[in-house]
Symmetry: C2
Subunit: 443 residues, 2 copies
Amino acid sequence: MADIIQPRLLKGFRDFLPHAEMERAALLEKLTATFRSFGFVPIDTPALEYAEILLGKAGGETEKQVYRFNDNGGRDVALRFDLTVPFARFMAEHYGELYLPFKRYHMAKVWRGENTQRGRYREFMQCDFDIVGVDTAVADFDILATIASAMRALGVQGSKIHVSHRGVFNRFLDRAGIGEKSVETLRIVDKLSKIGAEETRRQLSELVGVGIADEVLEFIRPGDGFSATLDRITRIAGGSNPDSDRLAELFGMADSCGLADSIVLAPSITRGLDYYTGVVFETFLDAVPDIGSVCSGGRYNDLASLYTKQRLPGVGASVGLDRLLAALETTQAGSKPAGYVKFVIVNLDSALAGEYQAAAAEMRAAGIACEVFPETRKLVSQYAYSEQKGASFAVVRGVTEKERGVWILRDLASRSNTEYASLEALISAAASEPRPVGDTTAP
Amino acid sequence: MADIIQPRLLKGFRDFLPHAEMERAALLEKLTATFRSFGFVPIDTPALEYAEILLGKAGGETEKQVYRFNDNGGRDVALRFDLTVPFARFMAEHYGELYLPFKRYHMAKVWRGENTQRGRYREFMQCDFDIVGVDTAVADFDILATIASAMRALGVQGSKIHVSHRGVFNRFLDRAGIGEKSVETLRIVDKLSKIGAEETRRQLSELVGVGIADEVLEFIRPGDGFSATLDRITRIAGGSNPDSDRLAELFGMADSCGLADSIVLAPSITRGLDYYTGVVFETFLDAVPDIGSVCSGGRYNDLASLYTKQRLPGVGASVGLDRLLAALETTQAGSKPAGYVKFVIVNLDSALAGEYQAAAAEMRAAGIACEVFPETRKLVSQYAYSEQKGASFAVVRGVTEKERGVWILRDLASRSNTEYASLEALISAAASEPRPVGDTTAP
């Protein structure tokens, strides 16, 4: 026999065992249902593309992190490191086949050879959704409403979307005479929650002087509600303008839908990325503020300028799936997720194999997920397995039960048995039980 | 402005536009629901692994096709080329954390730098499901019943699972005195449907002589039903034995579940892969026989011998997703799939933006997927968009309708309008409409 190869994973890469994968699947399914209910449609793009295309716009940091190599045909290829660049390439390439506005979602893995020491992974899943081809308040709000709806669908109690507008900030910076330092200023302001007000003030003072630093701090100060804050930043930015009007429109729509409490005007939100040009936002959970934003994004005025002369304005967001999974684990701790099967049909006698399978088929036809234990083993071992699978009940029928003409339903939690005169009676009794959370097999 | 980079894909790689991706998603969701209803649970493994681990058992052909490179840390890595090798590594690595029998499904992309000329892709999705840790007829049958159930869930009319047993064949070969030529014999027999009976006879005669070639052909001859065929091959193989008993058990269970007509004993099925040791099977669709098997697999006696001394017998199958998608396209041609949204709320006046959003929120709360058109445009353009999205209805309300206190429901297919005195009345009228096929947003 050959030597054993030691099974092991690359650093920064993960297996998902059933429990973890079921939690991730449940999260993705709830997000998917939300996206669909808002009219987003799915696309997919390859994991591997020409390096030139993926890295066209990327700076040195990205280049160092990307998995890039020559394929067997000598092509210079790379694994995608995000879903934005492939989406831009996709829109440019298929522009003639698509209709605008185009609302898409995309959930897929990306790869970055990052330093893994800070709990970062080299393979992780991203989840992006965007509306491309229009520049309107309705589209901006659609993204915010989708986020709010997704949080509700996930059972998250208390989430706040912190919203701001790059344009209003830039108007203020121009008015303060530091327009040419906007990128550096935005970068400092963006770190506010991490470095604190004092350090922000110090860094800003160094960049633009103490007086203007204080104006910036006054601009980004958290306010007393959306309207009051909007009034203040509009005034500081030099009065009413299309960008502040956009924020007012957004708030009006939020108010109409009962979402006013979920949306906070937070002028300190700027988002680090240079390509946002309009509304920007981050989403925080009241219960786990330390975890940071679980869904962030904003408006950009041109998605695919690298690949097409066609101008494509858009607005979109990215869900931080790993953060959100961690948050759900914290907030929903103790609520043991149900398995996919509600019933395990115990296997006591191989002569009854056909009967067990017929019972399983009948239960599935009634919309009940179940499985036949695939081996005759001791009852205690089959019960232990059933509990591992997250089932609620075991169905017990051996030769004795068959002779007596009964089916036994064992409640795995209470360890109590109930006898039924027929499988139908057992099924109809079980059907009145509440359906387990994880059971998605209903027709 | 920088030069435009021509957007293009690597040869053998595909984008999935919304229509194609929605069809793929619908297929995967139906398969997922079926797997769950039988107690299979999901896992995930990395796309990238140590080349040594992925290629440990692979021969020259596989090595040539694999995407293998040195990562930035100088590690010799490769993209997975199937889901079986990673599953074997997974079972060895997590043996202590898992319970047996272990029933898992895994749907994920794999990569092979194959010749793309025969319509093969270099990136494609695989879908595998297995039961590991037992060697029983119940487990074998579970896989067959899952396939039959999946075909039903997909709406496929008339599918047949062709089943055979490697062990029965090997017993016959041993009896005929050509046991040492079993691999070559199985390879020739496996090509029967491609090369025809005459060529099979010629190749077999060359290998084992005319007399034994004719015995082989008699063994693999299609029979007149499961029992008659089983009797014949059992007799030719030297009489009743545990392997022919296994086939009889399978047929007994199929009969108990009303699946006897879906399962065909086809002794010519051998499956090319060396690692199958027991039951083997392929699935054919009556309506599109030319497309070949859409789901194939079998029993193996040791999954992970490369990575662990722990013996792991199992049985499993792999769904040919691309073939199945092509088959569904052929058999369900003309049935235009519905979009995710049933309603588009037309945008006639930005002053009514809040009202449109409130209406959308109310409809979604009633379980109806809908979207607000994100821009004020001509009606005809918004209707065209609504049809592109596969919606059934447009909801029309401008200033005039608001003054008149009405909501208009436009049936996009018949181009007829109906007035309602309230949104609630419109919703309840719409709720009585049959739900579109693609709508999965129900709570």
